[in-house]
């Protein structure tokens, strides 16, 4: 049976210093085995400023078996599937130890965002781009962060519409926005 008491203790612990750590967990209704985690994109990475949602399923034998984690927010990263958010991280698989916690796991995900391991990829396309064309990788990752991980900023469709209204063709606008990581001002410069 799931060790409810330990999970509750973990949740209290995470809640206590979520401001400093940049990770937090919320409950999905009554079911304590289904949680939702949030991590903020690490600074000085293409993920900076983004907020990433992670789906967490706790197996009945938790903490003796690792929690199942998956990105709900779309993210462009060699070790995270761009299709379904599946994560390739050793501590979530064979290197899991019962002494690790949900917090340490989320912090490890944050660390994974700042230091990708393209030699052990989950998403081969992203990994190939990371290895062969790093600048494009960075701008794509930034674009994805802008587009999918920022709730506060203007949605990408709105930016597209704004630029199209200025008289640029839509396809060019989209390409420009993508290459500039979603920054509408830079895109405008590029288009002019």
């Amino acid at each position: 049976m799931l060790d409810v008491s330990r999970v509750q203790k973990e949740l209290v612990e995470i809640d206590r210093d979520k401001r400093i750590s940049g990770v937090s967990i919320t409950l999905h209704g009554d079911d304590i085995s289904h949680l939702s985690g949030t991590i903020s994109g690490p600074i000085e990475t293409p993920y900076e400023g983004g907020t990433f949602q992670i789906d967490i399923q706790l197996p009945a034998s938790y903490p003796f078996e690792p929690p199942k984690m998956q990105f709900l927010t779309k993210v462009w990263h060699p070790n995270i599937s761009s299709q379904n958010g599946a994560i390739c991280l050793d501590i979530l698989k064979d290197q899991w130890s019962p002494a690790l916690t949900l917090k340490t796991a989320l912090l490890s995900l944050q660390a994974l965002l700042s230091s990708p391991a393209p030699d052990d990829p989950q998403d081969a396309v992203v990994a190939q781009q990371y290895n062969q064309d790093y600048p494009t990788f960075v701008s794509t990752a930034r674009y994805w962060t802008e587009t999918f991980a920022k709730r506060s900023s203007l949605g990408i469709e709105e930016k597209v519409q704004k630029l199209v209204e200025m008289g640029f063709p839509e396809s060019q606008v989209r390409t420009a926005l993508e290459t500039c990581g979603g920054d509408e001002n830079l895109a405008l410069e590029k288009l002019c």
Partner: protein, 598 residues
Amino acid sequence: MADFETSDDDYYGDDSLDGLDQEEDDLLWTPQRTPSSASKVITRASLLAAQREDLKRVTEMLTLKEHHARTLLIHHRWDVERLLAVLVEKGRDRLFTEAGIPILDAAHQASARSTSSIMCNICMEDISPNDVTTMDCGHCFCNDCWTEHFIIKIKEGESRRVRCMAHKCNAICDEAIIRNLVSVKDPEVAERFERFLLESYIEDNGKVKWCPSVPHCGNAIRIDGDSYCEVECTCGLQFCFRCSSEAHSPCSCLMWELWIKKCKDESETVNWLTVHTKPCPKCHKPVEKNGGCNLVTCLCGQYFCWLCGGATGRDHTWTGIAGHSCGRYKSDHNKVAERAKRDLNRYMHYHNRYKAHMDSMKRENKLRETVQATIATSESKDDGFRDYSWVTNGLNRLFRSRRVLSYSYPFAFYMFGDDLFKDDMTEEERQLKQNLFEDQQQQLEVTVERLSKFIEEKFDKLPEDKVKEIRMHIINLTVLVDTCCKNMYECIENDLLGLLQSTTHSIAPYTSKGIERASELSVCPDSDQILNSSKANDDDAHDPSWVSSAPGTDSEPRSEGQVSCASLDDNGCSSRKRAREETLGSLLFDLNLPAEVA
């Protein structure tokens, strides 16, 4: 026994065939164990004893606890030599840490014990010091958490490498602690842990393999020496130690795997194809006839005659195809290379011969009973022939060589085909080698058939001089067949596989005595072996007649089976020539001496 010998001597006395004497040892069929044999059958009962020796060696050499020695051995796949090499190369500490044995730190453990209550980092509860366990690595958690962890790891099949719960701690947990904690909560899982741990000696060991018998006999076989060998389990199954499929030498494991697959595929599809289709002369795809007339159109658009398979035009009448007549016999009408058909023919050629010898072997198996019955009636006649070992020897030689012959066909199929060694030799080289091999193969084939013919003779119904003649033939052919087998293997190993450039392809070598029968592992190997070998020497000295009596017992399974015990029988029967060739240890050579004198 003494009588046997006398009658034998008498027989030779009035026989003019002098050449025979020299080969006499050769014809005595030896039980399927070579003197160098050290293959052991490991049963459930002897599994612990089998690993005891290795464990003892490591515990004593490194002054370790047994569970640490086991951890080391599991990590190094029970290869004591490799383990020692690591010790020399990297030192004791590296050897231990890499295998997950913590280097003890008493101070660390003491500090963990000193507090009044301990916070378990897994369940995050405060626990009384009585309910926690500190592992050798110094990590301390509560017993409930440990137990839970152990049970999950055991159920995951990780029994041999249950690591500490602490993050990044590589230490393997003490098996005694696991045993104690788990058996309290779930005795069944504890039992499973015990079994997994013991079976590591089989599962994680290059020298030991489960017998592949179905239903499983429960035995495992331990070999001593090259893994390219064929063994017989005490359950009677003979198998290739390398790939665990049936014994298939002189086919290599790869060849055999391909062959089995091919036979399976072909029997289902190709048989049907050969019966129902013909290859299109243009695209070579098999075409099935779906109409009545013999002018057939392939999907590729080619028209051809169903009767001869040759390409034609498209016009036809009720009686023939315009401009085409194949009813006349023409010898050279196969101008178009029908590759598919050629390949198929090639396969069928080899397969038919492979199959034919297999079938012969099956029929000859029935022959064994007949022959034994014949021997029985002849023996009861009491006409001077007391020893019929030449028949059983011949019969055993026949089985052995039939097997070799049969498997030599799939071998040839791959050796001279395009699948494996196409780039390894030129067409001329291949032709040359093929001729060389086929010469040997043919010689063997002819000799085997002749031997088979003589063995089938109902000698109990024949007059004495006729029996003498048959005996002569069988004895000669038995030796000859063995020589042919040896020559063919020599050709395979030296001239064919030995000269391959790009790959190494190994086969289980030929042994005159047949597939080695593994002997049961005795519970106390060391002392038994000494005991038996000295006994063997005694027997030698006091009873020289056992030389001729040995073959009489050869077909019986041996239960006491020690290597040295086996060599007791062997040395009497092996030829002088072979004794020289195959003697490896000085012990065996000594044992062979009295036989030569006798």
